[in-house]
């Protein structure tokens, strides 16, 4: 499966997946309680990788409920039983919501089908919510986690004007968004609005503007996102040798 997956994607997609996983991992601080939810291969790879690099004392929480599991390999579903193997304790999703509600979840990674200029996200409806053009899967825990977790980092594997509009068709969740990682850039949220923090290597400001549905302001002095270091690449490859992170791109 994984060999087929690797063969099926271009070098460019592969580079994007690696970058995004590495960039997500950089937001993890050592010692933090870190959570990802359903449909989250990139954060899963990022967390496992961070534990083997700069954040050996993070505590890894997930939906199956394994606290600090040592998965034998990364599963294609991020709700699979491998995320309980080698765990020290079980801590259900219900407990994770409570933990976040009482202000003790440090960092959560959440995805969005749309992420808007305010850093709000939509996983519910495209079009009119009363008669949606697209019924999206739903926001899972995001409406709860975004406002209650200490910090959240969003990501989306597609960066285009529909995915990054001025305003979401429906705000599934809004809250303590620190940053958004995309294939083109890293946004940070400041004063209630997303600003480009850094642009990935090889991406021009104009290309970024064209791919974004909201105004990005002045990008002249925006730095380039530092490329994954050799050490980061090695750690990512060790964390996810089968390339499960590529699943987000096929």
């Amino acid at each position: 499966m994984s060999v087929a997956l690797r063969e099926g994607v271009s070098e460019e997609v592969r580079a994007t997946a690696d970058r995004m996983a590495v960039f997500l991992s950089r937001f993890i601080r050592d010692g933090e309680l870190v959570f990802h939810g359903v449909a989250s291969p990139l954060p899963m790879a990022a967390i496992v990788m961070a534990r083997n690099t700069h954040a050996p004392n993070l505590t890894y929480l997930n939906i199956p409920g394994g606290v600090d599991p040592k998965p034998p390999y990364l599963p294609g579903s991020t709700v699979a039983r491998q995320l309980m193997e080698g765990a020290l304790s079980y801590f259900t999703l219900t407990e994770i919501f409570d933990l976040s509600a009482r202000g003790k979840l440090d960092l959560a990674f959440l995805g969005g089908a749309q992420i808007d200029a305010r850093g709000d996200m939509n996983l519910s409806f495209i079009g009119d919510p009363a008669a949606p053009k697209v019924r999206l899967p739903g926001g899972a825990g995001s409406a709860h986690i975004l406002p209650t977790a200490g910090r959240t980092v969003l990501w989306r594997t597609a960066h285009d004007a529909r995915s990054f509009p001025e305003r979401c068709d429906f705000v599934t969740a809004s809250g303590n968004v620190e940053a958004v990682v995309t294939p083109l850039c890293i946004f940070e949220k400041a004063d209630g609005r997303l600003r480009v923090n850094s642009i990935h290597q090889g991406v021009t400001p104009d290309a970024l503007r064209a791919a974004t549905g909201f105004d990005l302001g002045d990008l002249e002095h925006t730095p380039a996102t530092p490329e994954p270091t050799p050490a980061e690449r090695t750690a990512l490859e060790a964390a996810d040798p089968e390339g499960i992170r590529l699943r987000e791109f096929v």
Partner: protein, 280 residues
């Protein structure tokens, strides 16, 4: 050894058209798949489904035209296969009412019922359109004056749970992630178990702390080895991605869905035919 053990056919027949069902497991893990297929075979209609994160189970019942309403935080096939096609179509065509929840508000609604309350407060939701869209109301906390969202009680007629081990009385042990199954068993009026293995009661006495569902909550037990397939069930089998993909290929028409249901019928009834002595 008989006790509450009945066949899959009999157990699915306990469910009436229009019932509210909580489905155990999460995403593609430990889902009551055999039970859900049997509901589709029995052409149950107008079901309301409660689940934090659904996938094959919710989508298949939507494909079968069995669903009037869903109360879920997420329905989809993650990065394996993306959106849930029959759920999507059902909602977009107005046949399925998708009550928009966060997973935490599903949990709050189940908590309300489990705790004997009309509604349960929940943290979070600030800035989200979910509360207004779904109609969650606020009260003023009587001590702080802060507004607090309340989620109305969700009281399923049955929690349908697939477990690793059960005895004939309905004691049940879950292996691996329990997800919201335990809460669902408390929130529901009654519980239907499908189990990989039927064990003697002594099995539970040996490790009573591992009994997630006590017998007195349970109405029926079905011996359903492989009952979570094509989902996974710790420690017995993993998600069968090819079989999930085959379902998705079949979900586009009534004929191909029937072929899918037919292809599972023997496996689905193997355990309960053996246990009850009658083929369904």
């Amino acid at each position: 050894m008989s006790g509450k053990i009945i066949s899959l056919t009999q157990a699915a027949a306990l469910v009436q058209d229009g019932d509210l069902l909580a489905l155990g497991g999460n995403a593609l893990t430990r889902i009551p798949a055999a039970f859900v297929r049997e509901l589709a075979r029995q052409r149950r209609e107008n079901l309301c489904l409660v689940k934090t994160a659904g996938a094959y189970d919710v989508d298949l019942l939507c494909a079968a035209g069995a669903v009037a309403q869903t109360q879920t935080g997420y329905v989809g096939f993650e990065n394996l296969f993306g959106l849930a096609p029959s759920y999507r179509r059902g909602v977009e065509e107005g046949r399925v009412q998708a009550v928009e929840h966060a997973c935490s508000t599903v949990i709050a609604g189940l908590r309300a019922s489990a705790y004997g309350l009309p509604s349960q407060p929940v943290a979070g939701l600030e800035g989200s359109d979910v509360a207004a869209h779904t109609g969650f109301r606020q009260v003023k906390d009587p001590y702080t004056g802060e507004p607090v969202y309340m989620v109305p009680g969700i009281r399923p007629k049955f929690a349908v749970l697939h477990v690793a081990y059960a005895d004939a009385e309905g004691n049940a042990r879950i292996e691996g992630g329990a997800f919201e199954d335990v809460l669902m068993s408390r929130a529901a009026e009654s519980v239907i178990l499908t189990a990989e293995h039927i064990e003697e009661t002594a099995f539970f006495v040996e490790k009573p702390d591992r009994t997630a569902i006590p017998a007195f909550m349970v109405q029926a037990v079905v011996h359903a080895p492989g009952g979570a397939r094509p989902g996974g069930c710790h420690p017995f089998y993993d998600i069968d991605e090819d079989a999930v993909g085959a379902y998705l290929d079949s979900a586009s028409s009534a004929e191909s869905l029937q072929t899918h249901l037919d292809s599972w019928v023997e496996r689905d009834h193997a355990g309960s035919a053996a246990a009850s002595g009658s083929v369904a």
